[in-house]
Symmetry: C2
Subunit: 419 residues, 2 copies
Amino acid sequence: VVFPAGVDEVAGCLRAASEWGVPVVPRGAGTNLSGGSLPIEGCLVVCTSRLDRVLQVDPVGRRAKVQCGVTNEAVQRAARPFGLFFAPDPSSMKVATIGGCLAENAGGPRCAKYGVTLNHVLAAEVVLADGSVVELRGAEDGGLDLLSAFVGSEGTLGIAVTADLRLLPTPRRRRTVVAGFADLSDTMAAASGIVAARVIPAALEFIESGLLGVIAQSSPGVFPAPAAAVLLVEVDGEEGEVEHDADLVARICGEHRALEVRRARDQAEGEALWAARRAGYGYLARVSRSVPTMDVTVPRDRLVEMIQQARELADEHGLDLYAVAHAGDGNLHPAVPFDPADPDSVRRLDDFRWQLQTACLSLGGSITGEHGIGVEKLSGMKLQHSDEVLGGMRALRTSFDPGGLMNPGKVLPAGGGAW
Amino acid sequence: VVFPAGVDEVAGCLRAASEWGVPVVPRGAGTNLSGGSLPIEGCLVVCTSRLDRVLQVDPVGRRAKVQCGVTNEAVQRAARPFGLFFAPDPSSMKVATIGGCLAENAGGPRCAKYGVTLNHVLAAEVVLADGSVVELRGAEDGGLDLLSAFVGSEGTLGIAVTADLRLLPTPRRRRTVVAGFADLSDTMAAASGIVAARVIPAALEFIESGLLGVIAQSSPGVFPAPAAAVLLVEVDGEEGEVEHDADLVARICGEHRALEVRRARDQAEGEALWAARRAGYGYLARVSRSVPTMDVTVPRDRLVEMIQQARELADEHGLDLYAVAHAGDGNLHPAVPFDPADPDSVRRLDDFRWQLQTACLSLGGSITGEHGIGVEKLSGMKLQHSDEVLGGMRALRTSFDPGGLMNPGKVLPAGGGAW
């Protein structure tokens, strides 16, 4: 494991690895949820944690230049005094690095409104497999769009060392609305009604009963009384617009038979609701041996079916399921505790994972939303994509890294290997 | 020239061309401004104009599935009854095809607020050089992002035949503000002030005196009295927000010594201003032999310098210059009439074009904004990009099209040719 302190050192590591034929596994904070940053046999791990400086914030141009080992949170901190923020907000944002956000094309609750990392990166300085350093800029910069090809490539095309990020004006107001429902279909109908009413919420979270039970234990009294599901909605923007949207959201939830609708009185009460939602996962992690959080996406109008199928599959395999969905874009995250020391538990989890992917594809969805492919979903790739598309991805990868030394066995099988 | 009527026929054309080693030039409506759709010696032109159907509008999922020969305007027409629109708005949108918008990653006045085509395409069915048909979806779909690599590739990676487009809710209100200034720097300071005040205008057009003179002739009385430059600003959104933003825009223009600030009374008066701005270019085209519209981008705070340098260069070469800039993203469009039948006029234009590109790069800019590279800016590519980046683009192109038959000589030199 090497900890290079600058671009030259990253380039030197990759040049040496290339000469010696040693595979390279890039690593930021290691918060990745699909195993993309896991070391492989005989590899060199290149950890970017020392590249941790915000180099510049340009409030007029609304952009920041940062080293890629800096955390997402540090970028937010640097942007805040100028009334700006960086839109991607993965749950791991306190520790996740910008390099990792680029590698995974990270999203988060507010990405349905603001877009994913791809939409907020203007340029990246990247070290390629042979140690050469290239500046990749977007399509507007002329020629083929190597930057967009790079974002989301999970360390298989190179290591980003510096990035120019787009910053957005922080909305003047936010307001959180929470509503509990007795029925999943009513919950989703309310979510669809909010979208159809042309509100674009900053977040539209669908929390099902399993996770609600956990939240009730970890943060008692914060969420509405027992319900089959809860919608946690945040609207942001100008003052008048926000109050208008919050009223509309509350009314639509009421029209869809909400058991209880509560508008946070102020930003602090809103933040308490979000903190409770995040703390639910933390509590779950503390009381379980291991809790993988999965990541499948279906068209928004199939989300209830997806949740129901996920629950049936979990029951079938004797697993517990705790789920939240970003209802705006149909992205479901089932957390499924298991015991990694127990082969039977591992086998049941693997079967569940495979059947979950198959189910989401049969609903017209995708085996990933914002966690990437890594090693977790490698086998699902051949379910999702045609041979031609997989061949195209392989050709793209080879065009950046002819020797196949960058993060081999992630996203695509290592070398020219079969699936 | 072939006019295939469906995906199978496009695939058949490319399969045959591939077998016979015939280069293929894809063509939509031919509105491209950098020559990407111009035929080359001995090529097969594949024109997509018969693929002209909107296949589906899904108002709940806010997306449309269209054949790629359909016009941008037809998509807007199909979306309008649902209160939705497709964000990219190139000036040619009445006739430009969606396939062309994908190939050029088209933008338009409102792209500084809403983003370019890349941000609004969810999937594309693409015929590759060998006639195979692949479905490319975005990064969220898992694996390497071939869709983003394809968008903006100017016909060098394949031909898009079907596209899934993102639609946005039409803003409830728009308001246009126009302000005339005696000084370029004041004009730009006002534009920067608007951005700094955290207004995100739907359009922020900077029109300099040359084009203002033309507009005064083609649409007398619509624009403010003689000025060095005019800002034409459109804000959109919810009612309260729009009035607030329009007030703020007007006040900021006043604070920067505007000679006259006028708020359009209603949407019709706003549209008259935009129609006059577009008609200016039309008038210029009618009274000139040929008017290439160029396309360079600089950081927003260098736009005044860029305009001044463009004017000096035009004077030096005895050329007239009529320019508009999208001030939000520093994208300048000088229109420079010349006489294609006069070798001296052609030489002066070429010299001007080359020096304009050099100047914009020395200001930290890009030789293109939204018109692509095509053949017009092929030689500028080596000014802008390092050999490594150009090599990466060539490798990417080869990975899609090993035989180099798709639109050769556009974006990059044909074959492995030198610059």
